[in-house]
Symmetry: C2
Subunit: 492 residues, 2 copies
């Protein structure tokens, strides 16, 4: 199992693809570009959903559900948004199949059942939601609307990779409506901060918060806030985005409200989302050559117990202690799995749980029982120690916190070590080509320069960071004046 | 609000449609036949999901996610299943839009981007899942597979009604794979029982468990187990189904496993689901002329607190007591909402929460504070009483249980009063045409008779009940021998 995994240093991309499949997270399906999320992978996604959903509700948001399909006439109403997604749309044109008279037992599209208006499978839901909000909003009393939905979306991608870029993916999308510009901007920032906290505290992945450049922002937005993470191969991954949409959608769908002074005004909007792409960030931030490494906060099982025995009598004796430890851990709110399958050897199980990234492994054999100890192994450091049976719960509660913190610290150190400031283009190209990583450089602010840099190096502006102690300088490419550095990297 | 609702006795169907919209549960969308589930409606669905999801996990099932699209060649593999859904499929034929040169700012389907094989938007996922299981199953060690998914599905219905029949709906679909026929049948029954328990104990809706007749069973199943409920207008509603699929899908997708004796055998299957249709069952079982009546187990808010005041000083005084009661209720795990909006009058709020079916309403005014009491109103009985402030938590905890039980008992009484045994066809027609309800009658077991009865009365066989103390008799239509009665009704 673990030992058959390609090493990261050999081929990082191959390592990732193999790990996703071998750790039972996801696999490609019979449908081009669409994935099957397997139970173990889905259990991690469910943990993410549960935590995010609680955070959304704590900040006043409610869930709702809007249709999967967007009629073409609604889809094209906000022109920039439509233009941004038009080239990757799955389009429903018919609503019935019929028997194929030339192929017995086969079906074909019934050409008589053609839709009057084509339906787009939602790539994002601004259009269908704002056409609905139009009927919900008359006065300032109807605002704000703070709604989120958990849904599937479809973007017909040409090159797909499990979790990172798939034609169908799962996500949450928030869509809010506000009285004023500032209130909407505050909402977009609130959510971007919420994403950053979630990703740092639960995924244990450090992120840089920033604003997208004009050419990288969401189609239809005024400003796109984002959180950017750095993967172990030196490439950046956009982990979440939160858009200030201004009045673009309100104008496209004619959504006005009567303000407190009795005057009609267009409504202000935000939208924001994170997706199953976060699974990719998680895997690529912490995984190692033995497989997945899960932060305890997101691990479906935080602890696995593996019994060691030869005879039936030993099995019974060990099983009893394992069960008792399991019960004590459950009582303390720890997610634990006792793997008592007797068709598999302990070594096989050790490999399996290493591959699956379970944070802690308890092994108990007859000698341990005699000595009233257990062996506990940490997945992240691959170190083992002996712990008194009476101390197990306390030790594990503490160790899970330590692992969560260590994973974040390590990822943070990695990010620091792979972040540089660069002031000339030769150096810029060298860093991007060789080591990769985050590169802070001055930029003259024009899309032209951004485009040339991308063409010459494949690096893009990941964001204009929110926090900056930076002084003015000169663009790394054009030499023109620049007020501050921006963050460049090659990206997923 | 409530007073503008059409009375059930006037027009039950109109009452339902108005209630769904006015109670903010759902509304029709811009997309033909697709609904928007609004936050209040969705919160009820989330409660259902939470409880069902826990029950599925307690019985050993895991969640996963399979693609939205089914390639046509997979879709048609199981012929009966394909035939059953072919006439209501949304079909994706293209994957790109382009600018329409004849209409500036408009888009049209890019005819160059035609899919080689059409994709069906899943009406159900057996095909895509069994084409996946084929790769997961080699030996008996890989069985059972016990998987559920929460998903949206699309069935292109011609006549739609909010929650009851919509082109897109939300559901859960379980898909399990087993070594033996009996194990699969046991699973199908286990889930049908789980559905019955859930619907009776949480929705407070009594159900009849049974088997579908050949003509009513799921396309592709050997046997369909079901739970049937009776609505207030005397029509039945199929609330959930659990299918024993035999080896039909295993044969269609060539899914074999090596059994313990080393022999290759086809795998046995089940599938089962409940959907947002349950919202319809909930609304139509308990709702009254004032609006929705929610069982406490599913109510997003079990209690609403409405402050009564005239002056600012009174408001401050009342607010303080309301907040204190709210905190105490939350501490006891009761879901409570304190409606402190000062732009609306108490009477308006009373109507709103009656319409929304909140089980208990607490009203507190200055005089109540002086007397150290609160007024508590029950939504189901529309009765009020005074309760000492010090007893509020205890009283409410108890009352919520009583309401839950009373709703079930009332619905059960209604079902009993509207269930009859009928032995001749004149009587049968009379009952079905006039009072409606559940009709137990003998049936000769042929689809021909079933069809004629349906044509003549619009009643269908809802199920062949699992529990029966019935003796043999003669078919209510044909007079031929019958071993037992079956359950007839007009149905949603």
């Amino acid at each position: 199992m673990g030992k058959h995994l390609t090493k990261r240093s050999e081929d990082y991309s191959k390592w990732y693809n193999e790990l996703v499949v071998k750790a039972n997270l996801a696999e490609n399906s019979a449908v081009r570009g669409c994935m099957v999320i397997k139970p173990y992978g889905y259990a991690i996604w469910e943990r993410m959903q549960e935590i995010l959903d609680r955070k959304f509700k704590e900040t006043g948001h409610s869930n709702a559900y809007f249709p999967l399909f967007v009629p073409k006439s609604l889809f094209e109403a906000e022109e920039k948004n439509a233009e941004g997604f038009a080239k990757e749309c799955a389009i429903v044109t018919h609503y019935r199949l019929e028997n194929d008279p030339e192929n017995k037992g086969k079906l074909r599209v019934d050409t008589k059942a053609k839709l009057e208006e084509e339906l787009i499978v939602r790539p994002t839901s601004e259009a269908v939601i704002w056409s609905t909000y139009k009927n919900w909003i008359q006065s300032y009393r109807d605002l704000p609307i703070l709604i989120n939905q958990w849904a599937n979306v479809v973007r017909w991608e040409m090159r797909t990779r499990l979790f990172l870029r798939t034609s169908e993916f799962l996500w949450q999308e928030g869509h809010t409506a506000h009285e004023s510009k500032n209130e909407a901007i505050d909402e977009a920032i609130l959510i971007n901060d919420l994403y950053a906290d979630f990703i740092q505290n639960y995924l244990a992945v450090p992120v840089i918060k920033g604003l997208k450049s004009e050419s990288e922002k969401f189609a239809g937005a005024i400003d796109t806030y984002c959180v950017e993470a750095l993967m172990q191969d030196g490439k950046a991954l956009q982990a979440g985005t939160s858009h200030f949409l201004g009045q673009n959608f309100a104008k496209a769908f004619d959504v006005k409200y009567t303000n407190k002074k009795g005057k009609l005004e267009y409504v202000w909007a935000t939208s924001w989302g994170v997706s199953t792409r976060l699974m990719g960030a998680l895997i690529m931030s912490h995984g190692d050559d033995n497989g997945l490494v899960l932060p305890p906060e997101l691990a479906p099982y935080q602890v696995v117990i593996v019994p060691i025995y030869k005879t039936n009598d030993e099995h019974k004796m060990v099983e009893k202690v394992c069960n008792s430890i399991k019960e004590n851990l459950i009582k303390s709110g720890i997610r634990v799995h006792f793997d008592n399958r007797d068709t598999l050897k302990p070594g096989f199980k050790f490999n399996e749980y290493e591959l699956k990234g379970v944070p802690l492994r308890i092994a108990i054999g007859p000698r341990d029982i005699k000595n009233k100890i257990v062996e506990i192994a940490r997945r992240d450091t691959m170190t083992k120690c002996s712990v008194k049976q009476s101390d197990v719960v306390k030790f594990i509660s503490c160790e899970l916190k330590v692992i969560q913190e260590d994973l974040f610290k390590n990822a943070q150190n990695f990010q620091k070590q792979n972040t540089v400031e660069v002031d000339n283009f030769e150096e810029f190209k060298k860093v991007i080509d060789n080591t990769g990583g985050f590169v802070y450089a001055h930029w003259d602010g024009t899309p032209q320069t951004e485009k040339i840099i991308k063409e010459k190096t494949k690096a893009t502006i990941r964001c204009i960071p929110i926090i900056s102690n930076d002084k003015s300088g000169f663009c790394v490419y054009s030499g023109k004046p620049s007020s501050r550095r921006v963050l460049f990297a090659k990206a997923y």
